[in-house]
Symmetry: C2
Subunit: 430 residues, 2 copies
């Protein structure tokens, strides 16, 4: 009799940890992802601000799973799941049948009904977003070097980040460092230090998942770096000229969106019940029916009556829990499932190269000690010895010199290849 | 009296070395490039084959020139030069006036009248080309993992490189290593070692700029790695199915073009005489008239009656020569110019991680000793201490493990941002 087939959709923290925990189990596993890489999303903002290069925070999924001979990796886009027929439908490919299905397709950004804002205020969820944002930020400075009109130049040098969660705070901090440490001395028509970095948060305070003293500390650290924090103010309009915060228009060439996420459309494919953010409502064992689980940011999961937070450790714990559930079934163990329980491993956010905040069940840290804890934890969890070393070197270099390694503007136009003639000198004729 | 104005178009080896040699001179220098980075083009093929990441072989031009306060860097696209009015016209920007002009806009690939081939056989000249080619190569393997038809799978696993110059040889060698060392074990539906890598050269032998024993050695090294070398055979047709070499059709999903280059259209802007490859014909002092020089791959320059080769050292020597000529004029020295003389610094090409060839006026090397010479020379000439270290680490890693650091497929579609829903799990909600 052939082995039962397990299909995992999504190679992020949840899906990848589930796949690894099924390595060597008596089931044929297929992991399907729309991209060929696992992304270390907690450092994505550093790729968007030119500190790290994309290949330092991403790794081919099939390399990560190569040693598990029972696992096949497929690059494909899921367009539907037939729960009755037990098959996953892919775009332009044959369908993939399953006995067990794990859906871990994550989330994307949401504009709260203002989808037209996306064109002016891109969000940050994948590597393409990161290189787009990097290009946008760097091009603003390049254009400012040409701009004779002081008002237009000021708009080019104004950066508005919407959303005071960890990603918004980290982006604002990194852009401020770019203007204060990396770029000074490189332009002749203006001083990069004159750039404005504005962080807008609709809630009364930023970093609401942390306690108030830590969030106050973050505001002070940001202010020290020159970031203007506008808390308790909602963005009411975004267009090509900038944003309107409350009634106040702010002209800005660069507006970034870090304010909201929406689960992937898995609830639609699965015809499953979902909450307002599009997350699939799952049972205490993270399933929606026998043999179909939804985990990670795609799921509205509960642990001991409280919602499970959208953090990497929570996603990994869910992946491992479901793998154990599948292994139990493969053994023929018919006992009812124990409910999933989230173990809080703490919450970390970084503000600048000198300040971070960290909150654990019985401990709060801030300042440089939290920064080092943050740095060590992130390097430790980065996949692959080489990536760890490369990131560590990059950080030490930037820390010491203020330089950045990934300040390349690629793809000038919106449509892939530039069709302008190439002005680059050639090394050799072929 | 204000300083005379020097404009340099192009920030490759020729333009950058000219700019640096003018640092601190009593002239206001403007360096204009269409991209914000200087590219270390000799290693571009390694970025195209996922060994190095783009930011390891490119560096922001304005960072390289930051310490020279008399130099301004502008990101812009030149559309014309008015020799009489002494101004450079830019796309969508104010024009830039000059007293001295240095044109160093390089070359791009040429398809010998078959421009329709470009869509099927991309060339390699800039970082966008490199990431496009990287995506194309990696996607062929991903598609093969899905493909049930053996003939179609074989076509997906056939890689044809057209042009047996250094770039073609280097690309073929790297793709062979990818299939023989990096990818084995990662696919379940086929063996990556079964991939065919075919190098086609119309001349009777490959690497014609080297002597015959070295070119024979390269052929044997390529054969050892599994590369099929078809020398003395011309490509007569290229389409979406593959290539026709002589009369023989070869089905191949990936065809790469390394067969010909054409100078940038500078001759057209300048209304200057050019040769068949579009290169501007310059005098012995590299000028086309008093105060206007054309250097690097854009120029058909002669040294002691012989054409100057299209190599990085030749481009740098030309840049320094013109800078010295400008400094002489700034001093008011009215003596006639001594003609430009090219000093041959040797010629190097690499075939695999164990074999390279090197040719100097009185010395020829091949095998691992040439490889180490090649590696040390390239690391030495790479700009920036951090880049040197990162590249060295990457090479040592790949040498030891066969792994590659930059195997990311970004931008699935041809038009920039993918508009498919993002299946990536999120780390946190904002």
């Amino acid at each position: 009799m052939p082995n039962p087939r397990t299909v995992i959709i999504g190679g992020g923290f949840a899906g990848l940890s589930c796949a690894k925990a099924l390595g060597g189990a008596p089931t044929d596993v297929t992991l399907i992802d729309q991209r060929n890489y696992h992304l270390f999303q907690p450092l994505l903002y550093q790729a968007a601000t030119a500190l790290l290069s994309p290949s330092e925070i991403a790794w081919p999924i099939r390399t990560l799973l190569r040693r598990y001979k029972n696992i096949q990796t497929l690059l494909g886009t899921v367009v539907g799941v037939d729960r009755a027929a037990r098959v996953v439908h892919l775009e332009g490919r044959q369908s993939v049948p399953f006995d067990y299905l794990v859906v871990a397709t994550g989330a994307r950004h949401a504009y709260f009904g203002h989808d037209d804002w996306e064109a002016f205020a891109p969000g940050l969820k994948n590597l393409d977003d990161a290189t787009d944002i990097r290009r946008k930020i760097l091009l603003a400075f390049e254009q400012a070097e040409f701009e004779p009109d002081p008002a237009k130049r000021a708009a080019l040098l104004t950066f508005v980040i919407i959303g005071g969660g960890p990603t918004g705070v980290e982006l604002a901090g990194m852009i401020a460092e770019l203007t204060r440490r990396t770029l000074p001395g490189e332009f002749r028509a203006f001083s990069p230090q004159s750039a404005r970095v504005i962080l807008v948060e609709a809630n009364a305070r930023i970093l609401t998942t942390f306690t108030e003293p830590l969030s106050d500390f973050a505001v002070r650290s940001l202010a020290d770096m020159g970031v203007e924090v506008l808390a308790g103010k909602a963005v009411t309009h975004i267009d090509a000229k900038g944003v309107v915060v409350g009634d106040e228009p702010i002209e800005a060439a660069t507006v970034l969106w870090a304010a909201g996420v929406q689960a992937s459309p898995a609830a639609l494919w699965l015809h499953a019940a979902s909450d307002r953010a599009g997350r699939v409502i799952v049972g205490p064992d993270l399933s929606i029916e026998a043999g179909i689980w939804v985990i990670g940011d795609t799921a509205a999961a509960q642990s001991e009556g409280k919602p499970v937070p959208g953090l990497a450790p929570a996603a990994k714990q869910q992946g491992k829990y479901v793998a154990a559930e599948i292994r139990r079934r493969l053994r023929g163990d018919a006992k009812p499932s124990a409910p999933f329980r989230y173990r809080n491993q703490g919450n970390l956010a970084t503000v600048s190269r000198k300040a971070a905040i960290a909150e654990f069940p019985h401990l709060r840290l801030k300042g440089w000690i939290a920064w080092w804890l943050w740095g060590i934890a992130h390097i430790f969890f980065l996949i692959g010895a080489r990536n760890r070393l490369a990131v560590a070197l990059n950080w030490l270099w930037a820390h010491a010199t203020g330089g950045r390694g990934a300040r390349l503007i690629t793809r000038h136009d919106e449509h892939g290849r530039s069709d302008q003639d190439d002005l680059r000198p050639s090394h050799r004729r072929h």
